[in-house]
Symmetry: C2
Subunit: 177 residues, 2 copies
């Protein structure tokens, strides 16, 4: 699924600028399970406009670049619907943390501890972000939020209960350099 399709999805929730769509991926409702950035969003919106899947009205602003507000067309809505009928890519999880863990026996114990602490902190922050529902969350967003909470909670529990396993196999602290 390409960024163009993700942008169509973003616009289902109302008209938006490229800047606002980017925020949806950075902090907003998409941030927990999708990503896309300026380098793909702006070209995607141009392509979508060319194909008639979105419309663009430029709102002139003084001393700022024109704000380009995009809205979904009927054709765009249909196109999203079709994309959601296609086979979806399987969920994908990428973790450099687990990659590093594979080499725990080659790393100093302090480093392994730091890695676990950082991972735990990051996940706890995510949990805090996701704990309070937003008023205007759609039921789908609410489901995704709770799904995320369940997964992060399980991850935190596992890490806290099993971190000793990898910390034990790490290399002893060296007294001399």
């Amino acid at each position: 699924m390409q960024v163009t399709t993700l942008c169509l999805g973003a616009l289902v929730f109302g008209e938006a600028t490229g800047y606002e769509i980017n925020k949806m991926f950075e902090d907003g409702p998409f941030s927990h399970f999708l990503d896309a950035s300026y380098g793909s969003i702006y070209p995607a919106l141009t392509r979508l406009t060319d194909e008639g899947l979105v419309t663009c009205k430029a709102e002139p602003q003084e001393k700022r670049p024109d704000k380009k507000v995009y809205s979904l067309t009927e054709k765009g809505r249909r196109s999203l619907g079709e994309a959601l009928q296609q086979t979806l890519a399987p969920d994908k999880f990428r973790s450099e943390f687990l990659f590093a863990v594979l080499f725990a026996h080659l790393l100093p114990r302090s480093r392994v501890r730091t890695l676990v602490d950082q991972r735990l902190a990051a996940m706890k922050e995510k949990v805090e972000q996701m704990t309070d529902p937003d008023e205007d969350d759609t039921p789908g967003m609410d489901f995704a939020r709770q799904y995320g909470l369940a997964v992060y909670t399980a991850s935190i529990d596992f890490l806290e209960n099993n971190r000793h396993l990898i910390e034990e196999i790490a290399t002893e602290e060296e007294v001399h350099v």
Copy 2:
């Protein structure tokens, strides 16, 4: 973290060909939390050879392309160690399934049910794959495997217990096309 670094990591477990490294990402110990494919692995190995981080010995084969077996050099091992001291990228999760769920209210109920069923089946297959430890697993691999099990189990539980939430908001089955 680039594919070159991931290849260095793969070679810590012993010498290997590009083909075998690819398998580590496709079915092997890396498959649950990393990905890389031929299009990046082969060029990476060439670059690593040029930089002296790995060595390559060609094993001639009859009626087959030469098998190129790569091994880590001392320089390569140090390079991996340094990479593991750098700040690691945060874990990333990408789910087209959750994207689709955001639009559950626009989809026919049968489609939503299919999506959930497929997701559950995929995760249960993962769990089965990960349940039995391999003899020659390193402790790090074992940890990663158990971590994965904990997360997938929690995901499955959540989905089974909450699927009704999104199935209820889906569009009623249409009797007429």
